[in-house]
Amino acid sequence: MLRFENIVKTFIQGETKTRALKGVSGSVHRGETVALCGPSGSGKSTLLNICGLLDMDYQGDLFFNNQKISKDLHLSTKIRRERIGFIFQRYNLIEAMTAFENVEYPLILSSQSKSERKQKVLSILEQVGLAGHEYKRPDQLSGGQQQRVAVARALVKRPALVIADEPTANLDTETATVVIDLMRELGATTQTTFLVATHDSRMTERCHRAIYLRDGLLVSKEIEHLEPQKFQKLTSGAKHAEHQIGMV
């Protein structure tokens, strides 16, 4: 589904150059949930931004379903609008919008009819356990609730890929577990591919596999399986994930 080849990213700040990614290659298959792990500063966010088409200023190639992605802003915006969902560490809900409107927004962008939107939004909000909170604004919701709205927002348009940068870092253990499970459950039924940067071992445990980054390089080709039971439960309905990862 998603393949990145030889990605090199250099930040230039005045005189100093930081090579955040030094040639990373890999792939994520359809329906897979992949954790992107590594110490702080290893380049996780940088790679996610590139895979999410938020950053077009890099060297190397990015493929979606074997199609090379151009680095044009307009085209990438269109792809993001239609096929990519985002979950952020700090929820990033639109303050002026209610929970309902926040979730509805991606559907407006993909010009769905009002009745269709309403039905989808109410249903997904119920699935994330926020029935009855539809008309609250972000400042009236707790962090966990906000992140659940964000999960709903990312998934409501059934994107092919969801990019999540440390989605649970701001949440307490209990809430984090809820959010992780939600992501997995909602994603599994729709064959959504997840790429999740995380420090959170609970998160990593629940992923099909993990990629490790260190100093801008992939350090392990290891595929980390979840225990078979859990794996079965969480991927029910999902296509069997392929156990391959590209060369470093």
Partner: protein, 405 residues
């Protein structure tokens, strides 16, 4: 609809700031409308005064105002009584007043001076109201007893020069249309002040008939037509010009040099005021919208990440600016209407303007044109300022915007 609701909620989000931004727009609207409305009120007063002074329409032989006459009444109008008869039937016409313009020498028997004279009908004093400021004596009588001297009014400077007062006799000397000198005695009926230094030492008024006999002619220089309603000037101009092809019809504004100068000056002052106010509003809104955009950087980043095009993002901010502009100008208009009502009610007097002895009540004219122009202008300025702020704000790379704290 959705975006309007969103814009409204965003305006409410930072109430204090939005309030001040709106307040600036309100004040700007008020200043433009009240200032402009007061200007219009003054223009109206000046227009009426100018039209009353010269008559709404001035009938002359063509070229009268450009050509210099070789002898008195060379370009005069004949049979003025017929014209008078013809137009007095018109219900919209208040008065038809002939004038004889002439010059010559004036003497008290010992001393001689130059005069500029105007022969007028008694009706002049009725139709035009108090256009002359008498310092002594009274206006010309409607009819002079036969056998007695015709009457004359002297400007105070001239009367002082000749050392004459009301009841004294002066002699006017002028060339007739036949190019011979003629002299007539006049009895001083009144002394007046003009406020204009050049006229103060020269101006006299007498009746049309006496002026004509001094010049030995039955022509008049011009005929002024006074209308009841100044707004009908243009229509009447066309009508009379088509009916009377052998006279030239000049509307009051062509001869209203003072009015035009004043209007020119004030037009420029108001234009400048408009520009300054527009600029202030622009800067104020740019500033607040800039702050708003800055504060919402992460939100802009989020929207952009989700695939919102830049123009869609700027559109939302522009809508906010537009709404602030609309709220501000609408409230400004309401306040101006309130102020107009208050002034009507309170009846506050302005001190007399220079050259005048009477004060006039302060008032503000409400002009739909001015209101539309100002409010559309201010609203557009608000929207443009917001658009510019949002445009530069949404230029930030998404990743940078997302990590903005």
């Amino acid at each position: 609809m959705q975006s309007i609701k969103l814009a409204w909620y965003n305006i409410l989000r930072n109430r204090r700031r939005s309030f001040f931004t709106i307040l600036i727009t309100i004040v700007a609207t008020l200043v433009l409308l009240a200032g402009g409305g007061f200007g219009l009120y003054m223009y109206q007063g000046l227009e009426e005064e100018s039209a009353r002074d010269t008559g709404n329409l001035i009938l002359t032989r063509s070229g009268y105002f450009e050509l210099e006459e070789d002898y008195p009444l060379q370009y005069g109008i004949s049979a003025y009584k017929d014209i008078q008869q013809q137009y007095l039937k018109d219900e919209q016409i208040k008065a038809v007043l002939p004038h004889v313009d002439f010059q010559g020498l004036i003497s008290n028997g010992e001393k001689t001076a130059i005069f500029m004279g105007k022969g007028v009908e008694h009706g002049e004093f009725l139709a035009k109201g108090p256009f002359i400021n008498f310092t002594d004596g009274r206006a010309l009588s409607s009819e002079v007893e036969s056998g007695s001297d015709p009457e004359i009014l002297l400007a105070s400077g001239l009367a002082k020069n000749l050392k004459v007062g009301v009841g004294d006799i002066v002699t006017l000397l002028s060339t007739t249309t036949e190019n011979v000198m003629n002299a007539m005695d006049f009895k001083v009926k009144g002394i007046f002040s003009t406020g204009v230094p050049e006229l103060e030492k020269r101006m006299i008024y007498t009746d049309v008939t006496s002026a004509q006999s001094l010049l030995d002619s039955d022509l008049v220089s011009s005929i002024s037509i006074h209308l009841f309603d100044i707004k009908q000037t243009a229509d009447k101009l066309e009508q009379i010009q088509t009916e009377n092809t052998d006279v030239e019809v000049t509307p009051w504004w062509v001869r209203a040099f003072y009015y035009r100068d004043v209007k020119n000056l004030f037009d420029r002052i108001f234009a400048l005021l408009g520009i300054i106010i527009s600029l202030i509003v622009f800067l104020a809104i740019s500033n607040t919208m800039g702050m708003t955009v800055m504060e919402r950087t992460r939100e802009i980043g989020t929207l952009a990440a989700m695939g919102t095009y830049r123009y869609e993002i700027t559109r939302n901010f522009t809508l906010e600016g537009l709404m602030i502009g609309l709220i501000g100008t609408l409230s400004g208009i309401l306040l101006t209407l309130g102020l107009i009502g208050l002034l009507n009610f309170a009846n506050i007097e302005m001190p007399p303007p220079p050259g005048s002895t009477q004060g006039f009540p302060i008032a503000i004219n409400f002009s739909l044109e001015l209101t539309l122009l100002s409010s559309v202008l201010l609203t557009i300025i608000c929207a443009v300022a917001a658009w510019l702020a949002a445009r530069s704000g949404s230029r930030k790379p998404i990743v940078e915007a997302l990590s903005y704290v």
